[in-house]
């Protein structure tokens, strides 16, 4: 009796597996993806740059200041704060900007960089810290996630290393 019951259960599960196979591309795959997408996960800020805090308008372009990002305990990289300049077309060939990073009304860094005409050419610039929290970087380019000046599409992404921990 037990053997027969197990056998019936086995075949039922096998047929169910076959039905699941038919449902994978039609419903299941999209359903699981929707659950994952809405489960409240976010990309690690070391990659994404974190959360946008506020937007500043400059001459024809805007700056978005992000919240400071702190690496996890053993994660490589330094704390940093991201600033995004966009759109690239509205930026002058040479950008020099004093930026208030923490919103206290005082500039915290002075940033200078040139925008090459070749959109794929690496960017180079400099960051001068005007307070003790931000770090000066004489030649900032695209070599690490926490010390970065790079073009992504229509945006210039700047990541300024911080002394905070």
């Amino acid at each position: 009796m037990r053997v027969r019951l197990l056998s019936i259960l086995g075949y039922t599960a096998a047929v169910a597996t076959l039905l699941v196979a038919l449902l994978v591309p039609l419903k299941l795959m999209g359903g699981i993806a929707a659950v994952v997408a809405h489960a409240g996960f976010r990309i690690d800020p070391m990659y994404s740059g974190g959360t946008a805090l506020r937007t500043l308008q400059s001459a024809g372009y805007k700056l978005t200041i992000y919240a400071p990002v702190y690496p996890h305990r053993l994660q490589r990289g330094k704390p940093f704060q991201q600033v995004v300049f966009e759109p690239v077309q509205a930026l002058p060939a040479q950008v020099t900007e004093a930026i208030d990073m923490n919103g206290d009304g005082q500039p915290d860094v002075r940033v200078t960089f040139r925008i090459p005409s070749d959109a794929n050419a690496p960017l180079h610039g400099s960051v001068v810290a005007l307070n003790s929290i931000c770090q000066s970087v004489p030649d900032i380019s695209n070599n690490s996630f926490s010390e970065l000046l790079a073009r992504t599409g229509d945006r210039i992404v700047l990541r300024i290393p911080l002394n905070l921990k």
Partner: protein, 388 residues
């Protein structure tokens, strides 16, 4: 299934019966390849038609001959060799290089690979963050989003369990291809303990990834980075990473499979394979050894491409949990002792029924996923041949 015997080995079917039984798979294939036929471009249409016919023909041959491994292997090797063709061509079109510049990483444009999944679990559970430079939802520049790929992987895993490694993975076919070149293995004696290495690698990368919030395997150990994409080389560290990828690829994917006739990276290194083994426990299909027929010749042990069967497991009448249900042991057994099996049922009773139920499900997945990958690679090849 009228000709399914109560003995183990499946018998060859008549052409008419095989064609009739192939019909559902042909309809499924048509359903799966209709989107490909809707895309503009003659190359896409030719690739979709050829791939669809290829998948249906292989399934027909499995039914007609009663053999599984040989026909599955043709599909799997085609998948392994055509995946990089389509993938690399897409990368070259998109960014002009196989290397991933940091600009693409920070904008979430890194395509997500299922290999990352085990490394995401602990960081995601602890901090709700995904330690991967991709995007959760699909974007125009990155359709291979994390949510979509996890949906695909989990759906297929529910059906396949560890058989993912024989019907779903787009990497293992390269090894299987190199392992198929020679008739005899140059190296026959392999240490049994090598089977445990993937578990050690899995444990190490999961813990390390959780500690440093980086997909460690992808950054340092994945041999297949050599034929897909890798972090742009711009300093000593990234140069070492690239060197490790090339060395592992050459050793584990090309040279050792050629010398041993085993899938050495899958069997002795791949942490994702070890991770998939866990899902074999909840999968209803497995392969058993009918002890009433087995003469302990050891042929199944020799033929298994990943050492997922050993003399001890044969004695117990089962395969190890790392069995990927490729069918090599069943097809090679001279005494019909290695049999397809549905858990809960009597071993050796109607194994062909078990094989058919498994094959319909597994081939449906192979056609959906692997078939689309093959069609993409084929379309790229046709484009290169006709347009240069």
């Amino acid at each position: 299934m009228a000709n399914a015997k109560t003995t183990s080995q499946p018998v060859a079917r008549s052409m008419g019966r095989s064609l009739l039984m192939t019909l559902p798979m042909a309809l499924w294939t048509l359903l799966m390849f209709t989107p490909g036929l809707m895309k503009p471009g003659l190359n896409q249409h030719i690739a979709a038609v050829l791939t669809g016919a290829f998948m249906v023909w292989l399934f027909y041959r499995m039914l007609r001959t009663g053999q599984t491994y040989r026909w599955r292997r043709i599909f799997f090797v085609a998948l392994g060799f055509l995946f990089p063709v389509g993938f690399v061509a897409a990368l070259l079109t998109l960014r002009g290089s196989m290397s991933i510049p940091i600009e693409h990483m920070i904008s979430g444009d890194t395509p997500f690979c299922y290999m990352v999944i085990p490394m995401l679990i602990i960081p995601a559970a602890l901090t709700h963050t995904l330690a991967f430079p991709g995007s959760i939802l699909p974007t125009p520049s990155n359709p291979h989003s994390i949510a979509a790929m996890i949906g695909l992987w989990l759906g297929m895993t529910l059906v396949l369990g560890k058989a993912w490694c024989a019907y779903g993975c787009f990497f293992g076919g390269l090894e299987e291809g190199f392992a198929s070149i020679t008739r005899r293995a140059r190296i026959r004696k392999l240490d049994e303990r090598l089977r445990l290495v993937p578990w050690a690698v899995l444990l190490a990368i999961v813990l390390l990834s959780a500690a440093i919030f980086e997909p460690v395997y992808c950054m340092w150990l994945c041999p297949f980075k050599t034929v897909t994409e890798f972090p742009a080389v711009h300093d000593a560290e990234t140069a070492i990473q690239f060197g490790v990828f090339v060395l592992l690829f050459t050793g584990l994917v090309v040279v050792l499979p050629f010398l041993t006739k085993k899938r050495t990276q899958c069997g002795f290194f791949c942490p994702f394979g070890a991770f998939q083994s866990v899902f074999n426990k909840i999968n209803i299909f497995d392969i058993r050894i009918d002890r009433t027929r087995c003469v302990d010749c050891g042929l199944c042990v020799v033929k298994c491409p990943t050492m997922a069967i050993n003399p001890e497991s044969v004695n117990k009448g089962e395969t190890l949990m790392s069995c990927m249900k490729c069918g090599a042991c069943v097809d090679s057994c001279q005494k019909d002792a290695a049999v397809w099996h549905i858990k809960g049922t009597e071993v050796g009773r109607n194994p062909e029924r078990a094989r058919l139920l498994f094959l319909y499900a597994a081939w449906a997945m192979a056609t959906m996923f692997g078939g689309s990958v093959i069609a993409n690679g084929l379309s790229t090849l046709l484009h290169l041949i006709f347009r240069g």
